[in-house]
């Protein structure tokens, strides 16, 4: 493999026996905008920590820009920018001081560093707030500052672990816009996120991990085509869905009566059915359920999205937005630590 990031049979077992990563392999070519997706606890952060030299691997190999993550760790740190899941700016320092400090730690000094910081302050739109303490910044400003501190030394590769989680849609959009710009300038971006629409729009390739293994990888359109069908989301009555056996019964009806259905997956609200020309199927499904005495609370047809890809491969939805009463409980249990 000759990617800028090469991972082969990577395994991480923690001291307590937890197998966070179970032999994953992937390669990211230079200049890629690469999405690394998965439910919580899938092994995303562990993989990022190994690639950014913050954690030792158990076995397998991983290299960044042709450098081994363990023997060449010091060299890797000079060419990567890392943004952690938590926003980590020093709130007692001003925005500018935060950036200058990161630059100094990257062995940049003097006028060159000051010019670079000025330039970046413009890019992340923090010029006016540059000399205020970061403690007074809003959440979106802190994230932008955090991102800027990872860029001071002109990294070749940017590792971002959920850079937009917890931000309002507007701040999120501006962060993604910066990332797009950076990628167009040739920086390779490796990102984990929960926002699939943005992944769909911006990531050229992505990998989905679940339980420490890669379950799918490819371009967004490849992955969506793989599903090869529209998705029909069926909402079942929540009171009898699991305990009353309604879901099982509905599945049986679908399996026996419709041979054009390619896949049936459990969803938070009931079932998601994949079939070609989904909209033609809707009246027939409604009729069949009516005959079988199964009550439908909702039915929606859509062409496949990354969300469907994610659901198909992990059995879980990733969305954090669009809370409905039917799935809000499961959403809370999925919140990040």
């Amino acid at each position: 493999m000759t990617g800028i990031i090469d991972v082969s049979q990577l395994v991480k077992t923690y001291g307590d026996g937890t197998k966070a990563v179970k032999g994953i392999s992937f390669s990211v070519p230079e200049g890629e905008f690469f999405g690394f997706l998965g439910p919580n606890g899938a092994g995303k952060s562990t993989t990022i920590k190994i690639l950014t030299t913050l954690l030792r691997k158990t076995s397998g190999s991983a290299s960044v820009a042709g450098l081994d993550v363990e023997s060449d760790a010091a060299k890797i740190r000079k060419i990567i920018g890392v943004q952690n899941q938590d926003t980590t700016v020093d709130e007692d320092l001003t925005g500018r001081e935060n950036m200058l400090l990161q630059g100094e730690l990257q062995q940049m000094h003097g006028q060159a560093l000051r010019d670079r910081v000025d330039e970046l302050l413009k890019v992340v739109d923090l010029v006016d707030a540059a000399d205020k303490r970061a403690g007074f910044y809003s959440g979106g400003m802190k994230k932008r500052l955090d991102l800027a501190t990872t860029l001071v030394h002109n990294p070749k590769i940017l590792f971002l672990d959920e850079p937009t989680t917890g931000l309002d849609p507007q701040s999120r959009a501006s962060i993604w816009a910066y990332l797009k710009q950076l990628n167009e300038q040739g920086i390779t971006i490796f990102i984990t996120t929960q926002y699939l629409e943005e992944v769909d729009r911006l990531c050229r390739r992505l990998a989905i991990v679940d339980l420490g293994e890669i379950v799918a990888q490819g371009t967004p359109s490849e992955l969506k085509q793989e599903i090869g069908a529209d998705s029909i989301s069926l909402g079942l009555e929540s009171s009898t869905m699991n305990t009353g056996g309604t879901r099982e019964k509905a599945k049986q009806v679908l399996e026996t009566k419709f041979d054009q259905i390619s896949d049936i997956v459990n969803s938070d609200i009931g079932l998601t059915v994949y079939a070609k020309n989904g909209s033609f199927l809707v009246p027939e499904i409604v009729r069949a359920f009516d005959e079988a005495g199964i009550k439908l609370s909702s039915i929606t047809v859509s062409s496949p999205t990354l969300d469907d890809v994610f659901l198909k491969h992990t059995g879980k939805r990733i969305r954090v937005e669009e809370v409905t009463s039917a799935n809000y409980r499961s959403m809370f249990s999925r919140r990040r630590r």
């Binding site: 950014t52 030299t53 913050l54 030792r56 010091a74 740190r77 000079k78 990567i80 890392v82 952690n84 899941q85 938590d86 980590t88 020093d90 007692d92 320092l93 001081e97 400090l101 990161q102 100094e104 730690l105 990257q106 062995q107 000094h109 303490r133 501190t149």
Partner: protein, 266 residues
């Protein structure tokens, strides 16, 4: 080079953090004042108990300088815990920053603070009539001894902070250690006023060694001689013993700190 410039930059970071927290400044500057005024006033008649004509303010200055250094040294560990918790340490570790400089920058800022506090105490003590009989060199020896003492003891709090990752634990242990170590030493009372068993403890208490050296620089009297001014001058064996003990503690605690830190950063 990276070690020096990284240490310097992180030292500056800590200093800015202190300066920008008025409450922190207030306490770190007033703590020594309160110690000095409160203790010497509270025990002003105590000198007569130690021996005829003993000036307690002169006697206690050495102990208070050290007590202040002792309690300041325990703040190093809590600061490092904050950096671990916030993720700032992780962020630094993803850069080529010199690993030892992360600790050294913090320790430098602690030493700087202790030296400033010590100077405040000495200025205030001067106003109360306490000054080293051994002259300017005496001042330098007091300050240097306190700095070395602070360095070696900050290692304990750093090691505790890195091991437990809990600021509460560091504070708890500091509070637990302060009283027995300080009161069973020559910091505030001479051994002659202690019961026998406590004299033995005091003789082996590392705090006593440092206090004796500082007191010798202030009074010019040999250990155990409680007068405020002697012509004997420096008692080099006392001073060297103090440095021996400080060095031993420093090697142990900073060694443990480096070991624990390596485990975190690897």
């Amino acid at each position: 080079m990276a070690f020096l410039s990284d240490s310097y930059n992180l030292f500056v970071r800590w200093m800015k953090k202190v300066v920008r927290n008025p409450i922190l400044i207030f306490f770190s500057l007033f703590q020594p004042v309160i110690f000095l005024v409160l203790f010497t006033q509270l025990f002003s008649k105590f000198g007569a108990l130690l021996g005829p004509g003993v000036n307690y303010t002169v006697f206690a200055t050495a102990g208070i300088v050290l007590q202040n250094a002792f309690s300041s040294a325990f703040q190093s560990g809590t600061a490092v815990v904050d950096d671990i918790k916030s993720g700032f340490l992780t962020k630094m570790l993803a850069t080529p920053v010199n690993r030892s400089a992360i600790l050294f920058g913090r320790i430098l800022s602690d030493i700087f603070r202790v030296v400033v506090q010590t100077i405040i105490i000495l200025v205030l003590a001067y106003a109360l009539g306490v000054f080293p009989e051994t002259g300017v060199l005496g001042y330098l020896i007091v300050i240097f001894t306190v700095a070395a003492f602070g360095l070696s003891w900050s290692g304990i709090s750093l090691a505790l902070g890195l091991k437990t990752k809990s600021a509460e634990t560091v504070f708890g242990i500091a509070g637990f250690l302060t009283f027995p170590l300080l009161f069973m030493s020559t910091a505030l009372v001479s051994t002659s006023a202690m019961p026998n068993w406590m004299q033995t403890v005091s003789n082996y208490n590392p705090i006593s060694f440092a206090v004796n050296a500082i007191r010798n620089a202030i009074t010019g009297c040999p250990v155990g001689h409680l007068a405020s001014n002697c012509t004997t001058g420096f008692d080099w064996s006392t001073i060297l013993q103090a440095y021996g003990v400080i060095a031993l503690i420093g090697v142990l605690t900073l060694g443990a700190t480096l070991y624990l830190f390596r485990k975190i950063v690897s």
